[in-house]
Amino acid sequence: MATAYRTHVSIIADILATAKQYSYEGYDDGATVTHLIRKANVPHQRLGSIVSALTESGLLYEESTKYRISEKGIEFLRAYNEFKGFAEGFGLKV
């Protein structure tokens, strides 16, 4: 059986979804690096570079060693879910 792979964009979406969960949905402090590693299922080495890129592009922001999702990040997640359906219609992943 073939293993399901994740694209770079879907890994970003998983990280942002985790940050969103820890920013708004009952956990207001933000997500720690451990939360991101465990929930988004990304190795620590890879997470560092992705989180840096997300912070630089304003999708995440750091607040006392915890990561919170920005408005731009929420908009990205909304767009991701919308276009994911579109690409899946063609049998592709975003």
């Binding site: 970003i12 767009a79 579109f86 690409a87 219609g89």
Partner: protein, 216 residues
């Protein structure tokens, strides 16, 4: 005159549908910077450009055949971009089992009697479309999404249209050519139905300048 009355509206309809899907795919790329959405953008831009050439060829007199062939070639490039996205997925997830099925099809350009550029282009388009529709149907078998089934069927109809158009070479003056154009536009219409659910419901224009994922 009959050609103009039938072919021109069909080509313009195909142009409208493919340009709309391409624009939506581009708005997706500008929002989340997905390479697959960029490939879909290129694919539908080339398909739309193909329809422009096909419509333009109707008014080009002696050069009409040549301009029409350029249009078909542009559409074949468009289909290549979709097939390329599927081939990346296949190589990433599993051995390229689907390519074995394509070997006999890949030989078709060389066994068609009286080869011409138009024959070759149509054969290549047919091969690419069959591959893409098989891959899309395989995805449907996994996800069971009605939108995937509809798009897979649409791509299958586009492949059938290429086959019918090839038959019009064998039987010139028959209705095969008109049937091919009608089937092609029906296929594009099937692509449009699930797209309209995503595109029209979500405010297509507002996404174009958002550039949310710019720089990722």
């Amino acid at each position: 005159m009959a050609e103009l009355l039938f072919e021109l509206p069909m080509n313009l309809l195909g142009l409208g549908i493919s340009a709309f899907i391409g624009r939506f795919a581009y708005s997706g790329y500008s929002a989340i910077a997905s390479p697959n959405l960029l490939r879909l953008t290129f694919a539908f831009i080339f398909v739309a450009a193909g329809f422009v050439f096909l419509a333009g060829g109707l008014f080009a007199g002696d050069y009409g055949r040549a301009i029409g062939t350029i249009g078909l070639a542009a559409q074949a490039i468009g289909y290549f971009f979709i097939a390329f996205s599927h081939s990346l997925k296949s190589f990433d997830a599993a051995p390229p089992r689907s390519f074995a099925l394509l070997v006999p099809l890949a030989l078709t350009p060389f066994i068609i009697p009286g080869n011409s550029i138009e024959h070759l282009v149509r054969s290549i388009s047919f091969i690419l479309l069959v591959y893409v529709s098989i891959e899309t149907m395989a995805s449907y078998m996994q996800t069971r999404k009605s939108s995937t089934l509809m798009i897979g069927s649409g791509l299958g109809l586009l492949a059938l249209a290429e086959l019918m158009a090839w038959y019009s070479f064998v039987y010139p003056g028959s209705l095969f050519y008109y049937a091919a154009i009608a089937i092609k536009v029906t296929g594009l219409g099937l692509l449009f139905v699930p797209f309209s659910k995503f595109g029209l419901a979500s405010g297509l224009g507002g996404r174009l300048n958002s550039k949310i994922g710019n720089g990722l």
